[in-house]
C-alpha cells in the first residue's frame, strides 16, 4: 500500500493536484505517554513534485509539518494524459513515490 494518494481536477484556469501522505512526522520533542522517553524525530525532509518528468516544485520541510500531511499544487497547461509524480525522502532515509495520470 503506497503511502501517497494523489488526485487531480482540471479546472478552467489550472489543474489542481492534491496529495495526502501517510507519515508520522515526529518532531523529536514529543515524549512517549508510557515510558516518558523522547520519541525520535522522523519527518519528511524533501518532497518533489514533477509534471511529465519536469521538476515543478521541491519542498524542503522540517518537523513543523503535521502528521499525514496534505499538499495541493496548481499547474497551468496540464493536458489529459499528463503524468504527475510525487516523491518524498525523510530524515531516516525512507522514501516513497507515486504517479498519477491526469484525466
Amino acid at each position: 500500500m503506497s503511502t501517497i494518494k494523489i488526485r487531480s481536477k482540471r479546472l478552467a484556469d489550472y489543474t489542481l493536484v492534491r496529495t495526502l501522505i501517510a507519515h508520522p512526522m515526529e518532531t523529536g520533542k514529543r515524549k512517549d505517554d508510557e515510558t516518558g522517553e523522547l520519541v525520535p524525530a522522523h519527518f519528511i525532509q524533501t518532497l518533489n513534485f514533477k509534471h511529465n518528468d519536469q521538476l515543478m516544485s521541491q519542498c524542503q520541510m522540517g518537523f513543523g509539518v503535521s502528521k499525514n500531511p496534505f499538499f495541493s499544487f496548481q499547474i497551468k497547461s496540464a493536458q489529459a494524459g499528463d503524468i504527475v509524480s510525487i516523491s518524498w525522502q525523510d530524515n531516516l532515509g525512507y522514501s516513497d513515490s507515486a504517479e498519477h495520470i491526469i484525466r
Binding site: M1, K5, R7, R18, L20, N68, F70
Partner: protein, 283 residues
C-alpha cells in the same frame, strides 16, 4: 377584585399542575424522541431532519465549508483501506469477519445497536466484532482506537446512506429499562463541573463554548468512526463519550461498558431514520 384574584389563583394552580404533571409523567421512548426533535426544530428551524447527520456542521457554515473541502480528500482513507484489508483477510481457521454477520457484514451498520433477547444486553457493532473474534479464538481488540476503528470504518462505509434502524422491542421490559437508563445517563449531571450530556448538547446546543459551537445531540451516532483533527487518528463513538466525561471532569466509564452502551442505545433511538455517513472527519 376578589374574583380576579380567584381567577389568578386558579390559573397558577392549573399551571403548576400542568408543570408538575408534564415533568413527572412517564413518557414513552417514541414521545421522548418526538419531544426532543420538536425542541431542535424550534431551535434550528432552517434544518431538515437529515441535516442533523452532519453534526455541528449543519449549524456552523464556516466549519462546514472547510469540512466539505476536507471530505473531498478525507484523511480517513488510509484507515478505510486498512479496514477493508483486515475485514477480508481470513482468520487462521479459514473463516472471517464476513461469516459472523448477516449479508456478509456489508451495509448492516444501521441495525446496530440492538437489544439481544437471548443475551439480555445491548449489542453494538464494535462489541459484535469482538464477539466474532471470540468465536474464532482471537484476542479481543481494544475498543477506543486502532484496529477496531479501521474495521468499523470499512463497515460504516459500506453502510453509507442506510437509515438508522434502532427500535426497542415492545415485548421486552429489560430493553425498555436499558433505554430508560441510557436516557437517565444523558440527563444525569456528573463530574466536577456538574454537567450532563444534555447541558451542552440539548440546553446549549448551537451556542459557543469558547471557540467551538456545541452540536445538537440529534445526529450524534450517524458518522462513526471519525478521524479527529485534534488527535490526528481514528476514534470510535465510545472513545468520544469517554473524552466528553473527561472534559467535564467526571469518572470515565470505559468504552463498551454497560452505561455507555445504554447511552448509545438511547442516542441511536433518537437518530432512528437518519442516514449513516460514516466514517467522517471531525475537528
Amino acid at each position: 377584585m376578589i374574583q380576579n384574584m380567584r381567577v389568578k389563583a386558579t390559573t397558577i394552580a392549573v399551571t403548576l399542575y400542568l408543570l408538575f404533571s408534564s415533568s413527572s409523567a412517564w413518557t414513552s421512548p417514541a414521545e421522548d424522541r418526538q419531544q426532543i426533535r420538536a425542541f431542535y426544530q424550534q431551535l434550528f428551524p432552517q434544518l431538515q431532519l437529515d441535516d442533523y447527520a452532519e453534526g455541528v456542521y449543519a449549524i456552523d457554515q464556516d466549519a462546514k465549508a472547510s469540512w466539505l473541502a476536507i471530505e473531498e480528500f478525507p484523511p480517513y482513507e488510509f484507515a478505510l483501506e486498512q479496514g477493508e484489508i483486515l475485514f477480508k483477510r481470513p482468520f487462521a481457521n479459514g473463516s472471517g469477519y464476513a461469516d459472523c454477520f448477516t449479508n456478509q457484514g456489508i451495509a448492516i451498520a444501521q441495525n446496530y445497536p440492538y437489544w439481544d433477547k437471548q443475551k439480555q444486553q445491548i449489542i453494538t457493532l464494535a462489541s459484535a466484532i469482538n464477539a466474532c473474534r471470540k468465536i474464532n479464538a482471537l484476542a479481543p481488540l481494544a475498543y477506543g482506537k486502532g484496529e477496531i476503528s479501521t474495521l468499523l470504518a470499512y463497515m460504516a462505509y459500506t453502510s453509507r446512506g442506510q437509515r438508522i434502524n434502532t427500535a426497542i422491542p415492545k415485548d421486552s421490559k429489560p430493553a425498555l429499562a436499558a433505554y430508560q437508563q441510557g436516557k437517565a445517563y444523558f440527563y444525569q449531571r456528573r463530574g466536577q463541573l456538574n454537567f450532563s450530556c444534555a447541558t451542552c448538547h440539548l440546553d446549549n446546543a448551537g451556542k459557543y463554548i469558547r471557540s467551538e459551537i456545541l452540536s445538537p445531540a440529534l445526529g450524534h451516532t450517524t458518522h462513526w468512526p471519525a478521524y479527529r483533527l485534534n488527535s490526528r487518528e481514528m476514534g470510535t463513538l465510545h472513545r468520544r463519550f469517554m473524552v466528553c466525561n473527561k472534559l467535564i471532569r467526571a469518572q470515565v466509564d470505559p468504552a463498551q461498558s454497560t452505561a455507555l452502551r445504554q447511552l448509545e442505545y438511547f442516542l441511536s433511538f433518537l437518530d432512528h431514520g437518519l442516514p449513516l455517513n460514516g466514517p467522517s472527519t471531525r475537528k
